[in-house]
Symmetry: C2
Subunit: 189 residues, 2 copies
């Protein structure tokens, strides 16, 4: 199997048990930069994981609300997650709407397209600035915490750096393309 959907949930349950609701909330946080799912996916998937023996739940009665079901990962779940983590990853190319637009740029009005890519570049640069601030905050933390791969800080730092490098690459590309389009639009012909 090794469906990333289930592995995402196992990964979030690994540090501590959570309810379906809390899982959806967590997914709306920092993780949402590279992973999303709705509660309508979370609940059925938790049931599937439970049937596979990878998680279990305890039921906590509440007043005025449906019973809380707090899910925890099992040893089998941890083993499965561990196995998935280093398993071969097939690098299938992803769809990119902006690349598609760039490819079709000949069909557009040049000054307008230059503006479009310039605007995209600015968006990327804004997000990049935010990530840089976050990175500086993380890197100001004591090295003992920051360098421990078992800590949440390490994991956050890792995914933050990915976001940062990608925003940087995107900004560079959009700026480069916008400049080329602008030059061509200004040129005679």
């Amino acid at each position: 199997m090794a469906a990333p959907l289930g592995m995402a949930i196992l990964g979030l349950l690994a540090p501590s048990p959570l309810t379906g609701y809390e899982l959806s909330r967590t997914l709306a946080g920092a993780i949402s930069h590279f992973w999303q799912m709705r509660h309508s996916q979370v609940y059925p998937e938790l049931a599937r994981l439970e049937q596979a023996g990878l998680v279990f739940h305890e039921r906590l009665p509440q007043q005025g609300k449906p019973d809380q079901k707090r899910y925890a990962i099992t040893e089998a779940g941890r083993a499965q997650l561990r196995e998935w983590l280093a398993s071969p990853l097939e690098a299938r190319p992803k769809r990119s709407e902006i690349a598609l637009r760039a490819f079709c740029v000949a069909q557009g009005r040049l000054p307008e397209m230059a503006d479009f890519f310039q605007a995209q570049a600015e968006g990327h640069r804004r997000r990049l600035a935010g990530f840089e601030t976050e990175r500086d905050a993380l890197e100001a933390l004591p090295a003992g915490v920051r360098d421990d791969p078992r800590s949440l800080v390490f994991a956050s730092h890792a995914v933050l750096m990915r976001g940062l490098l990608f925003e940087q690459a995107s900004a560079t590309w959009c700026t480069w393309l916008a400049a080329r389009l602008r030059k061509a639009a200004a040129a005679p012909g």
Copy 2:
């Protein structure tokens, strides 16, 4: 509407008419780095575009094969494509399985995870080298062709540079992470 699926087809039909089969073949080429679709999607989508008046086809009888249906873009199709090209693009975050793995790295065996990210880095660097060769070939072309945004060379160059910068960013990130994991795995504790 402005479904990117249809716009991709319009973009490919814009330079010259194509059959559904040729469209699927084209999509298997350089475009496949950032856009994919199967013939099972192409044929119904062409029908939808035709009903919307964005393309039309002429039927060419053949012997021993089904009639060829050669599709061409209409003026309305060109207008629609032009409008879509510079329309606001909502930047929704994409799923990344490798980012998910990085985030869950605490649950894995450290040396194994270091190897994993090192291997990923090498894959990215291999693809990067290929892109660099392609780029050099394109940039050796006369500036008159290369700098004309209406040429296929310009479009190819644009998407190639995107791929190149992204492979570079990915390689940098994977190498950085692998090194951090290796250092932590070697450290006492």
